[in-house]
Structure formats: C-alpha cells, structure tokens
Subunit: 238 residues, 6 copies
C-alpha cells in the first residue's frame, strides 16, 4: 500500500491556476497534491549571446526553491552565492524539454524564460514544473499573438511530465516525498501528446532495474501524462 | 489625487493569511493591495558563530524577490552569484526590527529565521514583509511553546511597518509602485504598539524635506501602523 | 557624563585636509576626532550601463575599511570575495546623499566616484565620509571647471552629515565608538545648508524612542550639521 | 553510413591503460577511439560532513575538461570561478552510478573520489569516464585491501556505460562527436554485468522518439556494455 | 648525495612529445623525469580588451594541476571557485616569459593561449611548463604560417627554464620534489639561447644566500638551459 | 638622466612614521618619495588551519591599493569579488620575506598579519611595503614582549627591500613610476642586514639582461638596502 492510500496508477490531484500573479506574460500555479510550483513566463526581445543575429529565439528555464518549501530549511542559493548541481540539472531539463515543442525560428529573436519557483515541495517538483511551465508558455505566447509581437504560434506540440518509480517492489505513478525518499528506482518522463518520449531519466537507487520493470514504468508514465495533458487542456480552455 | 484613488491617509487593503505553506513553523502570506509577500519563520536549534555558547538566541531575516514579481523581470540573485545591496539592506532592516521586540535570552540558543519572499511587488515590499514577519514569528513561537521547545514567550511587544511619503506635494500613506517611483520623499517607519519608533528611514528623492513635512509623515505613519497592528491582532486571534 | 568628557551638544574636533593624495581630482582626509576617512573623488568620462546615451551623469560612492582601522582586525572584503551588507548599505547612502545636491544633467555623461576609505575608526565613519566626500566632490568639480571638462557647476547645494543618539538617557551629538556601542538609539542625519533633511536613518537599539526624543535628536543634529558646514566652507576657502 | 565507417552496432576501439600516473591509488587512462579520459581514484580517510560519525563511506566523482580537449578552446572553469551545469550534471551522474556497485558500509568512514579529466574529447566523454572510473575504483580498492586499509571488498558488482542514439533514422552505438552533434536522439546507459539498468538518460534532440526506437537503443546499449565489461575484465586481469 | 643519485649538475631525462592531442594548434607533452606537463597552444583571432584596435597581439598562459597530479589530492580550483595565488603567479610567469621572445606586432590582432596542465608532478612543474610551452608555441606558429594566418614568424628567439637550488649545502640543478621540499634555496631561471636572463626568481627558504652561492646557481642554470634548448631543437627538427 | 633628476644610485627620500594609526600593535606609514604605504601589524592568538596544534606560529601579509592610489582609478578588488594575480603575488612575497627573519617556534601558536595598504603609488610599492612591514612587525613584537604575550623576541634578523632596474641602458636604484613603466629590466631585491639575499625577482621587460647587468643591479641594490636598513634603525630607535 502507498503511504497516501493511492492506487499504484493514481495521480495526486492536479491543478493549474492561471494568472496567479499579474506581471508575467504567463503565470501559472501548478499543484500536484501538496507540491506547489509557481511558473512565470517572461518574453524578452533579446536572445543569449550565442544566438545574436541568427534570426532564431530561445526558450530557457530557471528553477528555485523557497528556503522553507521543504521540511527542513535549505540555505538560499543566492546567499551561498551559487546554484547547486541539482538546481542546474533541473533547469537544464525544463528548458530542453520545452524547446522540443517550440519552433525557435518562428519565435524570432526573442527569449522566453520560464521561472519555476517551488513554494511547497512534496516530491515531483521538476515534473510538476515542466507540466506547469508548458501552460505558462502557452499563455505567454497567446499574449504575444494578441499584442502582435508574434505573427504565428511557435508552439507546435504539447507536453507534460511525471515521475514513476518502484516502491516496495511495485511500479507506482507520481511519487510523493514519502515514497520518493524510499523508492528503489526513480524515473522522470517527459512525453508529448502523441506519446513520443522527449526525455527519460531513470536512476536505480537500490538494485539495478530489469527491462520488464522499465516497461511497466513506461506504461504507467504514459497513462499519467495523458491525464495531465487533459488537465492542461481543460485549464487552457477555461 | 492619488493614482489609486485613495485618500492621502488611506491604506491599501491589508490581509494576513496564516498557515500559507505547511512545513514552516510560521507561514504567513501578507498582502498590502497587490504587494504579496510570503513570510516563513523557521526555528533552528543553533545560533550564528558569534553567539555560540552565550546562552542567547538570534532573530534574523532573509529577503528575496521572485524574478517576475516585478513589472520587468529581474535577474535571479542566485544566478548572479551574489545578493544585491538593496536585498542586504532590507534583510538587515527586517531582522533588526524584529529583534527589538524579542527577548533573546528567553529564546535560548535558538535562531529564528524569517524568509520573506516577494511573490508580487507593487511598492512597500519591505514594510509589508516586516508586518507579515511579525505574525509569522508569533506563530512560530506559539508552535514552540506548544511543543515545549520554549518555556516562556520571548516576544515582548508588537510591531508593524508602513511607508509614507510626499507625492505631488502631499504627504500620503502606504505608497504603491506608481506613487513610489515618483515620490519626492519616501520614508519607512517601524513602530511598536505604543507608538514608539523602532526604525525610521527617510530619503529625499527630490528636494530636501522640511521639519513640518517630516512631522506630517510621522503622524500619517503612526496612524497607519495602528491600523495594521489591529489587522495583525485580528489575524492572530482567528 | 560622556566618556570623552564632551558636552551633549559638542562635536569632536573636525578637520578637512584637502589634496591629501596627489592623483585624485579631489582628495580629502576628513577627521572627526579619531575617526579618519580618506575621500578621493574621481571623474570618469563614462556612465553606468543604465545611463548610456541619456545625456546625464552619475555620482556614486564606494566605502571600505582598512582591516585594522578597527580595534580588532576585520577580514578584508577583497579576500572574502564579497562586500558585506554594512558596506553596501553605507556606500548606497553616501552616493544617494551626494546626488541630492548635484544636477546630473549638468554633469553630462560623466561619472563621479567618491572612494571613502576609513584609515582609523572611532564611530561615525559614514557621516564623516559623507561630510568629507562633499568637499572632495567640490574639489573634483572645480578641477573639471578649470580644465574645461565641465562648463558649469553641477553642484547646486551643500550638505553634511552627523550622528546623534541617546546615550544613558541623554540625547547627544556625534557619538564616538564608546558611546555608539552602548547607545540606546542611534540616528544618522544628512542635511543641506538650509536645514532641509536629505536622509534620516534612526534605529532603536534598546527601547523604542518617543517623538520628543526624536525631536531632541533632530535639533542636536541640525546644529551639528551647521557647524560642520562652516568647517567645510573654511576648508574650501583655504 | 556512419561518418567513421563503423557498423551501427560497432564500438570504437576501447582501451584501458592502468597505472597511467603514479600518485593515485587507482589511475586509468580510458580511450574510446579519440576520446581520452584520465580517471584517478583517491581514497581519503574522511567523509563529507553529512556522513560524519555514521560508520559509512562515500564514493563521489569530479569531472573536468582540459581547455583544449575540444575542437575550439573552452574557458577554464577554474578561471570563470564556477562549475558549469553540464559539468555538475556529469559528475553527479558518475558518482551516483559508481555508488550503485559499492557497499558503503563495507567502505567504513572513507571517501573515494574519482577525478575524471578529459584530455581529448570526441563524443561520449561521460560514458567513457564511468567505464574508466570503474577500473580505477577497482585498483584503488585492491590497493587498500593489500595495505590492510580495507578488510573486505566493498565493490559488489561491475558496471560500464555507453551512449546510443538515432543518427539519420538508424539506431547506432557509441556515437562520436560528428554523430553526436547531429543525432536526433541521444541516450546514455549505465548497466551492470547482469544487464540491469543503473541509469538511463535519453533526450530527443529532434523529434520525440517512439517505444520501438527506445527498445532498439536499449538492445544496442546492452550489447555494447557487455563488450566494454569484457575489456574491463581483460584489463583488470593483466 | 642527491636522493635520485644524480650529479649536482645533472638534469633528469627531458622529453618533448609533440602532437600529444589532436585539436590544439600546438600540443606538447613535456617530461622532466616524473614531472609531466601537457602544453596546448591555441591561436585565437581576438585579443584581450586592453589591446582591442591596437594592431598588436598577445601571448598568455593558463596553468592547472589535475587534482591527483600530486602525492596527496589537492582540491580542484574550479570546485573552490577561484584560482590560488600559486597558480596565478605561475601563469603570469609563463606568459611573461614567452612574450619576451615574441614580436607582438608581427602576431597581429591575435592571441596565443598556452594551457599548461600538470598531469603528474615531481618538482619543477613551472620550469618544465615554460620549456614545453615554447615548443607548443613554435608548433602553433608553424601551423599559422602554413595555413596563411600569419605571414611572418613572430617568434624571434628561443628560451627554456630550469630550477636550481642549494640542497644540503650544495648547489644542484633541476630539483625534484624530494629535494625541492628540503632545499635551503630555490631559484627558477628563464634564459634565452644566447644566455641572456629573461626571468630570475630566487627565494631563501632557509638562510639567506650569499653572492657566491647565487653565482654558482646561475652557472648551473645556464648550463642546464643550454641542454634543454638542445632537446627542444631536436624535438622541433623531428 | 633620470626623470626625477636623481643619481643612478640615489634613493628617493625614505621615511618611516611609526604609530600612524592607534589600534594596530604596529602601525607604520612608509614613504619612498611619493609612494606611501600604511603597514599595520596585528597579532592574533590563533594560527591558520594547517598549523593548528603544532606549537608554531605564522607571519603573513595582505596587500591592497586604495582605488585612487594610482593615476587612473583601479576597480576595488572587494567590488570585483576577487584578488588579482598581482595582489596575490605581492602578498605572498611580503609574507615569505618576513618569515625569513622570524623564529616561528618562538612565536608560539600566534599569527602576525601585516596589512600593507597603498595610499599613494609612485612605483616600488611592494619593496616599500616590505621595508615598512618589517618596522611594523618589530613594533608589534615589542608590544607583545611588553605585555608579556611573548617571552622572547622571535625576530632574529633585519631586512629591507628595494627595486633596481635598467633604465635607458643604465642600472638605476629605486625606480619611480615614470622609470618603472619604461624600464628594460626590473628587479626586486630583499636582503638582510648581512647582505644575504632573501629574495630576488628580476624580469626582462625589453631585452634579456646579461650577467654583468645583473651584477651591477645587485651591487646597487645591496647598497640601497644598507641605507634603508639604517633608516629603519633610526626610526626604531626614536
């Protein structure tokens, strides 16, 4: 049995609250149970140095945790003066995933930065962030289309992300912190609306996992992502 | 006339939402109009190096802004690798103010850290942060009294803070961003429940201000702080 | 009685030594008793990025303490790799105050940097620095007018700064280190030659202070600043 | 056809040169074609702070590239003053993978650090590093067993790593730089001697990949890792 | 007797291996006994900011040690986030020495960076680095002459470097680590092919040294450098 | 002819002002003509980590330049967040030189830090700093002997430093900035009262220098250091 009483293939309640703050072009609070991440999308009319003058845009992400988003307080990265390895890894992942559904030529020489800040953490912050960042990106693009900044929509696909893992020998979907900290295997999946894999990252925390375990996790993940994509569509339609 | 249509002596709507996140000993979302600051109080059973073995505790604060709390996106201090001068100044102010109402001996060798993170900014973030941090501190202390970590209440007073200024020649209370950015004079006041001044910081942005202007601002501020203190008490009584 | 034997309204001996070093456009050693600060003004024909192409200039300050300016040696900020919060706060204050008496349009696209380095500290280094920086600024501007770099004088007012406080229940002027470290309240004032307030920063170290205490400190400060302004004029006339 | 003329399932020549430098407890130069990584294992009789007094050891890795290991010179991370996100990601991966085959209790309060420095890069540096680090780890442990520092062997399994990808629509094994920079999908696999997966990290650079493509890549990777494990054994037996 | 059994005026075996890696314009592994330094020369078509638009080039060096090049592991400077004083001193020395034999005008607006990375250390790494960097520089220049990037050879002289010292009262040539760590005096010499001194750096580790000791060391050094220069020529002729 | 009109073997006026500031155990302003360096010696009852529990002390130095000590303003190293290579090189030199005349066992587990801060620069700041630091060290030690902190004098020798060089083909003593910036060769010498060499650092800025030039510079330096040592003694006797 899972600590939360959920079925192995059961997501936590998923919620997308759009327009959570007023300044960002896209601002979405995403909740996967008690995990709450604020995803703010900013559109800037400049690109990173390596893209200057190439006529293409860029999509990138930054990730942060409020110091007391976690059970014990974590030192503020701004105070320590550097980003940790985990933070860098996550923000590289979010940016890479989003770029997979954006036509960077259509974006023109513009940069979209998605700030994903974890207000409260209960496992799965990176996959929640990706799922929420997608909605914020869509809102930011819609804003640019409306104001004429963009002529055509550079977003050519949809994506969402979820974690799967093996907990007490059983493949489970959407691990919360209690499960995550004891899982034997932990895998993060990013997939598009057609079930294509955009990113797969799996780590054996305990024993190495077998092909049949990998297959079971992939199936759980695919189903979970289908559900999240439906929640995203509902939120975007609202 | 003020851009918001408020009277010169009128506060924006003030709201304190307690238990905003679940991990921190005290967690308060404070809102002064569109300014929203999350104040999380953490109690740690250790003190900074300079207090080790002295039998006294410490109260300190850290302040941050989400990158898109503001109209234009501000670079993340964690990414730039250092805290800006404004951030340091504000977090020093918050900590100093709170220590004025805490008996550090009664705290024992413990540290209370109040993380004040601005989710949305519309002027007056530092005074909102102080006012909210006080409520979070009270909740954290109550938690420690209940769990027996503290035997007696180290908080011996109440405080709140507000900004006052001179806008188009008129002394006004609680400046929002539109007013703040054009004010001739900007002053932050921290006072206790008896009207005693804990901190006063005033800057002439335009012309140097006269004693009568200073007096008018002090009166506005004193009245505003009385109102905020009432809101704090109502929230704490809930 | 004050540790130094001074009257409550008595300044320490104040001295401005101009041309203290030979390279800077303005170079002033300011002494308030045993507090000695070297203020060097540099005029550069470039402005910070945010002012480029706007036709206006900038006045800024940097503040430092030699490691053994103080009773115990303080670690060198250059060695620790970052500026402390106190340093940032002080240099922001000095720059802001000086800008209040400078017409930045008249300066053209030029930057004046005032380096204030404390050679010996005995309380009141920031107010001594402001008072000395003003003289250095005047010398630097005079140099630029003489060499034709500036056509007209951008300095449109005079200012000085002093600390006041409440020491053993008595409002006193110009606190030295012995007083400062035990003061109940500490306030720094920057005023212009007409008695207008440019900056007021007061902190209750012990109990919150009352309006009548604030008024008494303001009067002491105003008188002290008048005297310092006279010393500045004498030095500039020499 | 692959640029190198290799078959889709053909590894580059793999070579492990043990005792490449003389100071480290384990020192292995690993070559996958033109990719050359020096893996030096150090055994220290102390552990990171979070493990102090827990009776367990730790295995970690650091990764670096000589500035001219690559076609164009890359700025030295020591000179820029911080590790890049890619470096952090890779060194976290190497350490995590190695810990999967080490009994940290059996290690006692000791730390093994594997420094993986790329002397020459031609694609696949992280998987070469993992494969070489394993051999260096084995040598370091053998050294400790011989000198009596360790009583029993904490290494309880074997592992190797390889990259697979989809290049011009065809799943291929062990991508070199020319292929890697144009691959549609790039996946790194770490597996043990029993074919269990320790880590899987796949990224769709072009289009999202399908399950059948994932399966094909997994099979290629499994076969490649079997071959590398055989080369490791031959090197360790020499 | 020297720990290595060498005569006082005997060099360790000196070897220059050209084309050690394939990407750099000049790539030389230099060995002085067990000291092994990889010297990679990069030619870039840009110059440091202070030389922009002046029609002249620059030659500079960077120096690093792999963490386990030494007997005990040294923390990676990239991980500590800054270069140590010793590193800076050495890389300044290497660059300065090489510039003494290069006509920077003839180089045009180009920069040659020589990366000197110590793979294994046994004393004398800085002098080995200078001697090897010279050969790498020559190869890089030859490459540029061949490809037409340079029209004429900017290298107008030859140089090499060696350490000398006083070990147990006797002046000795080319100290290895065992000698170096116990030497009373340690001196590094850089000379050109005509016996002219380009750099001399001598430090009394024990007692201050006398003029006759200085003279004896200079003679040993001059002879050693003559030998190294012959080895360089042989390598360049191969 | 030298720009200053001095003879080739003529020092600039040398002056040591003791007790320049009041907090440091030793505080000396040293002047070599227009070069003015404040040398403050601090005695601390702790040692660097690598000496803990070894019963020996340490002598170290830190070096800094006020931003406007030079003709053009130099950015503050504290603001840039790191020490430059030149600063590190100089402070390592000063510390190393002073340790050559101190019995570190006799110092006990204490550290002497000499802060050398350049108030005004006109060439030769590092040699002036060493010469002044010696006097400050002597004062600090005398203070410790008087207060009983030290039982016996750990300073067992005297030293001073000077620069020599070749200017327009002529060996000259004590180069000022005008000469230094055009010298063909620049050499810094540290010697003790018996004429023994503690440190020699010579660099050919133009052509490589010959042995007879080296000899001439050594003779000039030795004579200059004898004079400075006499000035030191006079100052210490005052």
């Amino acid at each position: 049995m899972r600590p939360s009483g959920r079925q192995p293939d059961q997501l936590r309640p998923v919620r997308f609250t759009r327009h959570f703050t007023r300044h960002a072009e896209g601002s979405v609070l995403v909740e996967f149970g008690d995990t709450r991440v604020l995803c703010n999308a900013t559109v800037e009319s400049r690109v990173p140095p390596f893209l200057k003058g190439k006529g293409r845009g860029w999509v990138t992400a930054e990730y942060g945790m409020l110091p007391r988003a976690t059970h014990d307080r974590m030192a503020r990265e701004a105070a320590r003066g550097k980003l940790g390895g985990r933070t860098m890894e996550i923000q590289r992942l979010i940016g890479r995933a989003l770029r997979a559904v954006v036509d960077l030529e259509a974006l023109g020489e513009r940069q979209v930065i998605i700030d994903c800040d974890v207000l409260q953490a209960d496992g799965g912050t990176r996959t929640a962030a990706i799922s929420g960042a997608y909605v914020a990106l869509r809102d930011a693009v819609a804003h640019c289309l409306k104001t004429g900044v963009l002529k055509r929509n550079p977003v050519h696909g949809q994506l969402a992300a979820i974690s799967v893992g093996i907990y007490q020998g059983v493949p489970v979907l959407d691990l919360d912190y209690d499960e995550d900290s004891q899982a034997e295997t932990d895998m993060n999946l990013v997939m598009n609306e057609a079930g294509g894999v955009i990113e797969i990252q799996g780590t054996a925390e305990g024993h190495a996992f077998r092909r049949d375990e990998l297959d079971a996790m992939l199936e759980l993940g695919e189903q979970g992502i289908r559900e999240i994509i439906a929640w995203q569509q509902e939120a975007l339609a609202a």
